[in-house]
Amino acid sequence: MGDLMEPDLISDLPQSIIESILTRLPIRDAVRTSILSSKWRYKWASITQLVFDEKCVPFCSDQDFDEKSLIEFITRALFLHEGPIHKFQLTTSYLQSCPDIDQWILFLSRNDIKELALELGEGDWFRVPASLFRCKKLTHLELFRCELDPPPSFKGFLFMKNLTLHQVSVYPDVIENLISSCPLLENLSLSYFDSLTLNINAPNLKYLFLEGEFRDINLENAPLLSSMSVAMYMTDDNFEHFEQSSSCNFDKFLGGLPRLETLTGHIYFTKYLSIGYDLGKLAITYDHLKVIELYQVSFEDMKEIYVVLRLVTSSPNLEELQISGSSNALVAMEAPDLDLWEKESHSKCALEKLKHVKMTEMSSVPHEMEFIKFLLCRSPVLERMSITPCVYVMDGRLNMLIELVRFRRACSSKIKL
């Protein structure tokens, strides 16, 4: 029976605390608190965050049974819930497209949903119902493996701040319209679209994450962008298309981003930027750019080197630089245009704040060496430079080491190999 004189410790805490406790429990445990005592009977029913995943229902190896039990669990939980629902997240591989999901979204659209995340299983992609576009207050939307087709009357999510679309099948102009019709959009993440041509017009955009095969990206209006991470997979057709285009990708992409603070480029990013590059005068300096991370930079392509140089030299406040090379050592050994570095050595740019440099996958090709020399000369406050040779380079490492140590340094820094 228990000690009747012991006071109840927890039931009288304010609802906001109870809610924060219950939202930190898995949904199944939260619902089970309803049998603890009479006060706890419906405490769970007013939590505003519902996160469902496969742990909601006990696992049974029968696929259909799992699916049905999960559907029933979610339906019942929604039915018993009262009050607004601000967050709904469903991550499961049991469900693919099924009509119950449409009903849940309809229910949520009537309950002031603000954050919605749907990740369903591989299989038939789920077709987003029209009721999703009626969720006026939506601020976060994450969709995985869906088909998106907004109705013509859709005017945009006025409060949308975070948009994540991963493997979503849409018409290209739909995405553009979607982005431009969300005026408060701050965080955009697009992954695995096929051959997308995109004009991004988002005046409040701060974080951009792109991954996939993009044909053409044009950040025409994103002045506040502060962090960008791009991974461009290029197929051969894309590349051909690029060869023919005459506009400078660098300007198109990075031209209008004065507030950029972090730039991360994966895979073929520098290659993409190098297309159409002309050696013209720089238009803009990136005063806020502090961190640059570039992967798969090929130091055998002059254009890419120019791109990297330009980035580095137009960021006077750069603090951290990380470059990962991908040169084909044999090809790059015969390096033309080494006099480029001579020219550069006369320029007066100094990387006054550069503290950490990390070069990985170095194949000790001449241009890489020159680049490292360049950096060492120009960085008075450099604290750490770590150079990791590429694993394929067996011989020549010792030579590289000796050369590196001989470079003139602008400061007393450590070189870590």
């Binding site: 029976m1 228990g2 000690d3 009747l4 012991e6 006071p7 109840d8 410790l9 927890i10 039931s11 805490l13 304010p14 906001s16 605390i17 924060s20 406790i21 219950l22 930190r24 429990l25 898995p26 199944r28 445990d29 619902v31 089970r32 608190t33 309803s34 049998i35 603890l36 005592s37 009479s38 006060k39 706890w40 009977r41 909601c56 229902v57 006990p58 049974c60 049974f65 049905k68 039990s69 029933e72 669990f73 019942r76 939980a77 018993l80």
Partner: protein
């Protein structure tokens, strides 16, 4: 004045804020530590209080001095800007190690002071405590009163899968709930009981072939329980409208419990997976005569044969058999019962017929339900048989004892009947187990 004194005593010229807790005690705290707390910060800025002992900021009621000390320690650590995230995390983990009572008080106090990082930390700790525990453990940890009625606890579990066994359980719980309610109602209705008791006593007496009329009075109390259940069952059969399955169960139960008192079916069925039965019968002074036993034996044998047949036959046929069996069984008490029970049986029969028709209709719809239904009915049958035998066993044992005590007659007979009954019981238990094994889905 006191402030001046204080300034002299403390050489480092730090400024202090005075805080007063609800119980009246006043503490002083370094200013930057206190300012970490938004509520205190606001108070200082808006009202200018806290600068001296007389004008101490009064804290909300939920903050007592010990907890205030803890909170100030927290603030003192975290307001130093130079700490790394790792350091802060380590400190937090150590800080949060306290007993549950203190943790709850700390949460409450931090919330009233609007110290959000601490509220998050404590909420996380409480959630970690609750996660994975059984309800009893949670109740014990937080001293929650276990004040949900049995009814409410037995309510169908909302978030359970569609396991047919669970569905069965839910229906049984629903019936038990009803019974509880009936019991509550009938506790108040004393007058009616008397009349009905008469009949049931007759019934009993004739059934066990005993003529002990001496303790009718005392018997009524005991019979009340049994009688209530008898009344409940047919009531349930007529009133339950959720699903043909329920109806079927209810309809069948009167068919099988006429052998005497039967405790609530739901208790029996609750233990469907474990064969345990609790005969809640305490009949006294029931003279059981040996003559009855052969007749009983015959009937039992018949039932068991039917039962075995049922194990092998197809469901619709079985349905017919049950119907016929029900009608056969009706014959025995029909002759004994008064008018009252007649009406029960007709209700039961009609229920059965309805059930069979409805059942045929739904057979095509839900295979899984049929399967579990079969299982259920078979278990029902078994349990009834076993129940009956328990009763008889008990009767024989009791009567044997009584005879031994009072008349000192030969007790071998009664002992032998006891043993015979036990054997029959054992046989049926084995049959039941066999049934369960064969019917495992």
């Amino acid at each position: 004045m006191s402030e001046g004194v204080m300034a002299v005593v403390k050489p480092e010229m730090k400024s202090y804020i005075w805080l007063q807790t609800a119980d009246g005690s006043i503490q002083q705290v370094e200013e930057e530590v206190a300012m970490f707390c938004p509520m205190i910060c606001r108070e200082i800025i808006q009202t200018g209080m806290g600068s001296s002992k007389n004008y101490a900021i009064s804290l909300p009621q939920r903050v007592n001095p010990a907890i205030l000390g803890l909170i100030l320690d927290y603030c003192r650590f975290h307001q130093v800007p130079g700490r790394s995230n790792k350091e802060r995390k380590t400190y937090d983990e150590k800080f949060i190690r306290m007993d549950t009572k203190k943790l709850c008080e700390l949460t409450s106090a931090a919330d009233s002071l609007q110290l959000k990082p601490l509220v998050d930390l404590t909420s996380r700790a409480l959630a970690r405590i609750i996660e994975g525990k059984t309800p009893e453990e949670i109740r014990e940890t937080f001293h929650l009163p276990d004040d949900l009625t049995e009814e409410e606890k037995l309510e169908p579990l909302r978030n359970i899968t569609d396991d047919p066994r669970i569905r069965l359980l839910n229906r049984l719980y629903a019936r038990k709930r009803k019974e509880l309610r009936e019991r509550e109602k009938l506790k108040n209705v004393e007058v009616e009981e008397e009349r009905v008791d008469e009949r049931s006593v007759e019934d009993l007496l004739t059934f066990i072939n005993g003529g002990d009329g001496e303790s009718k009075g005392s018997r009524t109390n005991k019979n009340k329980k049994k009688n209530r259940r008898r009344r409940d069952q047919p009531k349930n059969s007529s009133s339950e409208a959720n699903g043909n399955h329920n109806k079927e169960l209810d309809a069948l139960s009167p068919a099988f419990h006429d052998s005497g008192a039967s405790p609530s079916k739901s208790t029996k069925l609750q233990d469907s997976t474990s064969v345990s039965f609790s005969p809640k019968l305490d009949f006294d002074d029931a003279d059981i005569d040996d003559d009855l036993d052969p007749a009983m034996k015959e009937e039992l044998d018949r039932e068991v044969e039917d039962f075995a047949r049922r194990l092998n036959s197809h469901w619709p046929d079985r349905m017919q058999e049950i119907l016929s069996l029900g009608q056969e069984r009706r014959l025995l008490p029909m002759s004994i019962n008064g008018d009252g029970s007649r009406r029960y049986s007709t209700a039961a029969l009609s229920g059965l017929e309805d059930a069979s028709m409805q059942f045929a209709a739904t057979e095509a719809v839900e295979k899984l339900a049929i399967f579990s239904l079969q299982q259920r009915v078979s278990i029902f049958v078994c349990f009834n048989i076993i129940q009956m035998q328990c009763f008889i066993l008990w009767e024989s044992m009791y009567s044997g004892m009584k005879k031994m005590l009072e008349k000192r007659r030969k007790t071998e007979n009664s002992r032998m009947t006891t043993w015979a009954n036990m054997l029959i019981l054992f046989r049926d238990c084995c049959l039941l187990l066999l049934l369960l094994v064969t019917f495992q889905p």
